[in-house]
């Protein structure tokens, strides 16, 4: 039995450490949306490779954005979903 790797997974890195120009800000949900599932859950840093420092900031900003209705808490409450269900 050989334990040859079938493929080498791409090295994960923290996008915010790599590029300090990306601001983690609740006012920019388009950045935060990349780190959230389709249903609105925050994706673990284990998956995205975000460093602990930036993951903490990310979580805080996502929660602020939800509070201000810039992002939804759950997809079933999202305006887009509600619009479709009404049709």
């Amino acid at each position: 039995m050989s334990f040859k790797k079938k493929f080498a997974p791409r090295r994960k890195y923290c996008r915010f450490c790599e590029n300090p120009e990306i601001l983690l800000d609740y006012k920019h949900p388009e950045v935060l949306n990349d780190f959230v599932t389709d249903r609105g859950k925050i994706i673990a840093s284990r998956i995205t490779g975000t460093c602990a420092k930036h993951q903490r900031a990310l979580t805080r900003e996502v929660k602020r954005a939800r509070q201000m209705a810039l992002m939804f808490y759950t997809a079933t409450h999202s305006t887009d979903v509600l619009k479709k269900s009404r049709v």
Partner: protein
């Protein structure tokens, strides 16, 4: 001791531009009364919200940036809460040194 704050307010979409301006001017007056200065007022216009807020799917976002003493936050928030037409609000302390912030103002 002045600190830089930012206030994001979600207003009812039923309010006209004039009414919104009046509300914001009111808040500015409170900030100034408490010994602060308003640096920026940013009207994002009427935007769709991510989920319905008080049965509305849209609302007007207004962002204010100001320097004010920490004690003023409670007074400002109290007034924001009792103002009609304000659906949601958030006050965030901006991570900037107070010295740099006052220089700009």
């Amino acid at each position: 001791m002045m600190t830089r704050y930012e206030e994001l307010i979600l207003l009812s979409p039923e309010l006209g531009v004039e009414e919104c301006r009046e509300i914001v001017n009111n808040f500015s007056a409170i900030v100034e009364r408490e010994g602060g200065t308003v640096l920026k007022v940013d009207d994002w216009g009427v935007k769709d919200t991510a989920y319905p807020v008080r049965k509305f799917n849209r609302g007007r976002y207004v962002r204010m940036e100001m320097n004010m003493p920490g004690k003023a936050v409670a007074e400002l928030e109290r007034n924001v809460r009792i103002t009609d037409g304000v659906f949601k609000f958030i006050t965030v302390r901006l991570a900037e040194t107070p010295a740099a912030a006052t220089e700009e103002a």
